[in-house]
Each structure stands twice: as C-alpha cells, then as structure tokens.
Assembly symmetry: C2
Homo-oligomer: 138 residues x 2
C-alpha cells in the first residue's frame, strides 16, 4: 500500500507520515522495489493511533511515550493513567484561560458602538493599562 492510501486510512497526510518517520516517531516503512514506501495493517494501526492521540491533544513527545507503552507487552497501566490524568488537568487549565480571554473579548466588543465613529472603546481599553504605569514609576 502506497503512502497516499496509508494517509487516507490513518487520517494523516503523506508529508506528515514522512515527517513522523524522519523524527523517529514511527519505524521506517518497508520499501517496494521502486523505492516507494509500503504500508500494511500493522503500520496503519500505529499511524491511526498517533492520529487519534494527536487529536486528543497529546504532543509528539507524549505520543512517543504512548507508542512505546502501546508496543510494550510488559507495560503498566499506572504509567499510562498518570500520563492521561496530567494531560486532562492541563487541558482543564487551558480552558480556564481561554474562558477568561473570551470574557475579555466579549466585554471589548460590547464597549464599542459599531457606528463608524472614530472613537472606539476597544482601542482605548487595550491602550489603557499603561497610563497608570508611568505615574507610579520611578
């Protein structure tokens, strides 16, 4: 199976697959006589695994760890559990930060009249913080 078919099956695209091979995330694919990469079910499952894991928010390095555990028959589920838990916590954190940012943006949008006038509370608001700054400074 050529790389583009492997790409379709795994949900990755061909360049990305080559990239993963290049950085040693997946083992180099076997080659056909013409030098083309040749993929089989075994490879596809690893590529799909990576795709899923990346979608789920794991970084490349985290995927590397997960893949090693995936391939290791003597793995301990504790290790995997800890990895996932920590990731979940970090995502929760990120959500918190984005929510705050969203509130800021909504407040900014509301503060602006949208009437074509040159006055705009948004820009004033963004510029604001610094005014107090120089007065109190040395």
């Amino acid at each position: 199976m050529n790389i583009s078919e492997a790409a379709k099956h795994s949900g990755l695209n061909p360049q990305t697959i080559r990239y993963y091979e290049q950085i040693g995330l997946v083992t180099p694919a076997r080659r056909q006589d013409n030098g083309y990469r040749d993929y089989r079910a075994h490879d596809l499952s690893q590529l799909s695994f990576i795709h899923r894991a990346r979608e789920t928010g794991f970084s490349i390095e985290e995927c590397r760890e997960l893949l090693e555990l995936y391939r290791d028959p003597s793995r301990q589920s504790q290790h995997v559990h800890a990895l996932v838990q920590e990731k979940a916590d970090r995502v929760a954190d990120q959500i918190k930060r984005l929510k705050a940012m969203h509130q800021d943006l909504v407040a900014l949008a509301r503060s602006c009249q949208d009437d074509g006038a040159p006055q705009c509370a948004i820009l004033d608001n963004l510029a604001d913080h610094h005014e107090n700054d120089l007065e109190g400074a040395s």
Copy 2:
C-alpha cells in the same frame, strides 16, 4: 529609557521587544549616543498595547492591524468591532474543542484501572478506531 526598563513597564521582555522591532510590528526605537535604544512614554504605550492585545489572544498579524487602527485618527470603530467579534467567536470555538478533548481524556482515565496490570483500556481505546477501517476498505 533603556530597553530593560521599557520591558518592565510594558510587561514584555527585551528580546521580544527587539523581535517586534525586527518584524516591523513597532517602529524602530530612537537611539542614544552609545547606540542603545531609547524609549519614551509614546513607545511604552504602544508596547503595552501589544502586550495586552497578545494576552487577549490576538496574533501578531492581528496586533499589526489593531495597531494601525490605534495610530489612525480616521479609523472606524466598525472595523475594530468586527475584528474583536470574530476573534471572540474563534476563541469560543477553541473552547468547545478543548472541552470535547477534556471529556475524551477523562473518559480515558476512568477506563483505566490504575492497578499496575499490563491491560490498559486507554491504549486499546486509542488504537481502536482503525480496526473497522481495513474491513470496509479495498
């Protein structure tokens, strides 16, 4: 005012300020006799503006737009409003995606017994999606 003081006041750090100058986000700072960059209130307000805008989630290119509007006396608040509104929408979207990801992660963590056994539903889960895939394929 030297760059490190400007950094303190604006909340950016010196390398970042130089970087912003380099990519043309801010106009090059005037220089002292010794060649050091020299910052005044006018520059600080722009740097602070950028810092706030970046914190609020605007990309460098968006900051460039906002800054141009900020500096333009004939700007129209509509334009700014649209920019902010669109950004707010995109952030809301990102929050949605992260929430889905978080649910996935929590579900994964729960599915795993954390008992040191080699079986781990997490890895099975990540690997899963592909099984169905080959059967239906050519």
